[in-house]
């Protein structure tokens, strides 16, 4: 009887504390970041066979940048450079708080019937809890993702790299979906139509 209770309690604690989907444990689904020829981590994709006119593509991309609150850092004819960030969170079951933010540069370029985009120059800015209990950047100068943090923080750093890969892949999928022809134009205003249950 005692044993059952003990094993039940153990199981409960295990389920509660086991880091479900824990910090950025990315599954091996091709979300890992590659290194480019500068030795920088990069998520790079080329989309070919694109049937959408270039001007529509660019318009949609610009709208996407606005939606994501990205900041422009330069435009060069068909090449658009933006700056953005992901929040990296520590998660254990339903408990979570942000560990820091990953700043990145995003580039988007069109050529004929294809376009390409990439996320790179990842820089991690750790968060600290301020006096009011809010998580805020602990420094104005981040650490490049390629920079080795040493043995003591290697595990944590590795989880940041994994989570950046996962979030980059998710961001890329969202970007491609937004640019694709299959997306529906979203209504600017809510419909005023009402449902009547008086007659049926």
């Amino acid at each position: 009887m005692h044993r059952n209770k003990r094993s039940g309690a153990f199981l409960f604690l295990f389920l509660l504390l086991f880091p479900w989907g824990s910090v950025a444990q990315s599954k091996k689904t091709g979300d890992e970041l590659e290194k480019d020829d500068r030795g920088k981590y990069i998520h790079y994709e080329v989309i070919t066979g694109n049937a959408i006119p270039v001007d529509s593509l660019i318009y949609r991309a610009k709208t996407f940048f606005k939606l994501k609150k990205m900041t422009s850092i330069g435009t060069d004819s068909a090449l658009f450079r933006q700056r953005g960030k992901f929040v990296i969170s520590k998660t254990a079951f339903v408990l979570s708080h942000p560990s820091g933010e990953m700043l990145y540069h995003f580039a988007f370029e069109t050529r004929g019937e294809k376009y390409r985009f990439w996320l790179t120059d990842f820089v991690f800015v750790s968060y600290e809890r301020d006096r009011y209990g809010n998580f805020v950047p602990s420094t104005a100068k981040g650490i490049p993702l390629e920079k080795s943090p040493g043995k003591l923080n290697a595990g944590e750093w590795s989880s940041y790299i994994n989570d950046t890969g996962r979030q980059s892949a998710a961001f890329a999928a969202e970007f491609k979906e937004y640019l694709s022809a299959s997306q529906q134009a979203k209504p600017l205003h809510k419909s005023n139509s009402r449902i009547s249950i008086k007659s049926w």
């Binding site: 059952n4 039940g8 199981l11 409960f12 389920l15 079951f93 339903v94 408990l95 979570s96 708080h97 942000p98 600290e128 809890r129 301020d130 006096r131 009011y132 209990g133 809010n134 998580f135 420094t139 104005a140 100068k141 981040g142 650490i143 920079k147 943090p149 040493g150 003591l152 923080n153 595990g155 944590e156």
Partner: protein, 346 residues
């Protein structure tokens, strides 16, 4: 049977969690906190230096266990922060709510407030909050040095009140508010204090706060006003500089203090930083008692391993008067101490 019920309960809990994640305007409940312990040895073998919290002589002692909760739903959010242990109870927050019968009944609250963001620029916050005055804070994860400055020890720790924050631009923000007396859960003489903060970000990495808090506390014979400058500048990814300067006066010749503390920090590696704090602190003259001053130098290391930080520290204080004691209890102008603290943040 019990196991089956347990799994049903788990499944329900997980569904609730999933639902919470799908609600776009609600963030998951944030849980964070810290724990700290320390050892301090004063070289006169007497607890001498008037630092807050790390006060026990030649003892492995407790700081506090700190637990913070935060939840945001749409534009509304709340923060509740509880602390248990000497640092987070009688060391920093009031016991009871002012009634004699509750004198030993600590509420354990560091922060308990609600916020509402009316727009992206304007938010209003009400409740019991860590003070906006000063450089150092109660929670050890917020400080580089483990021992605290005289400016911190003599300034307010918490302010209950209501305040409005307006962000003019990423470089300028203003806060104005009405507050209770310093460090009380409830005010017995009304909401008597006015406070304001101007935040300026002159360049990337440099933030400056100009603070004022003024009002007459219950039973006080004068109005106390504190003017405070707190600023930090992350010069490079390794070098950080900070400054805190404050002046506190109570009208009708009731004294006060003034002082300044300079903070220099250098990160030698990702896991090791060294910091130096130099402070000058002076109490003001009151009738029949001349003010005195004290100078203090503190050298602190931070060794980080994951969430754990080891903080070795040496500190030397020199007073204008014999404010410290020697081993034989003779008065002396000098005091020095060593401490080693371990702080874990989660």
């Amino acid at each position: 049977m019990k196991i089956k019920s347990f799994f049903t309960l788990s499944a329900l809990t997980m569904s609730a969690a999933t639902y919470a994640q799908e609600t776009t305007t609600s963030t998951p409940l944030q849980i964070s906190g810290s724990a700290d312990v320390y050892y301090k040895y004063d070289f006169s073998k007497k607890p001498n230096i008037g630092t807050s919290f790390a006060s026990d002589q030649n003892s492995i002692s407790l700081g506090m266990l700190d637990l913070a909760l935060k939840k945001t739903t749409g534009k509304a959010s709340f923060v509740g922060e509880l602390s248990f242990g000497p640092r987070g109870q009688y060391g920093s927050i009031p016991n009871g709510e002012g009634e004699a019968s509750n004198a030993d009944n600590s509420f354990h609250l560091q922060n308990l407030y609600m916020s509402y963001a009316f727009t992206n620029k304007l938010s209003v916050t009400a409740g019991y909050m860590s003070t906006f005055i000063g450089y150092e804070v109660i929670v050890p994860t917020g400080n580089f040095n483990y021992s605290t400055s005289y400016l911190f020890t003599n300034g307010p720790f918490q302010n209950a009140g209501i305040r409005a924050n307006y962000v003019f631009s990423p470089k300028v923000a203003v806060m104005v508010g009405l507050f209770n007396d310093w460090n009380v859960y409830k005010d017995v003489n009304g909401v008597t204090h006015f406070g304001a903060q101007l935040t300026v970000v002159p360049v990337d990495g440099w933030t400056a706060y100009l603070n004022v808090l003024t009002g007459r506390a219950a039973g006080a014979t004068g109005t106390g006003s504190i003017y405070d400058l707190t600023t930090t500048y992350q010069i490079t990814d390794k070098v950080k500089i900070g400054l805190n300067a404050a002046d506190y006066s109570v009208t009708n010749d009731n004294g006060g203090y003034s002082g300044a503390a300079l903070y220099l920090q250098n990160a030698f590696t990702a896991n090791f930083s060294l910091g130096l704090r130099g402070e000058y602190f002076k109490t003001k003259d009151v009738p029949d008692l001349k003010g005195s001053n004290v100078k203090s130098i503190t050298l602190t290391g931070n060794f980080k391993a994951g969430g754990l930080t080891f903080i070795p520290e040496v500190r030397f204080d020199n007073g204008s008067t014999a404010r410290f004691v020697k081993n034989n209890l003779d008065p002396t102008k000098n005091a020095s101490q060593f401490s080693l603290a371990a702080v874990y943040a989660f």
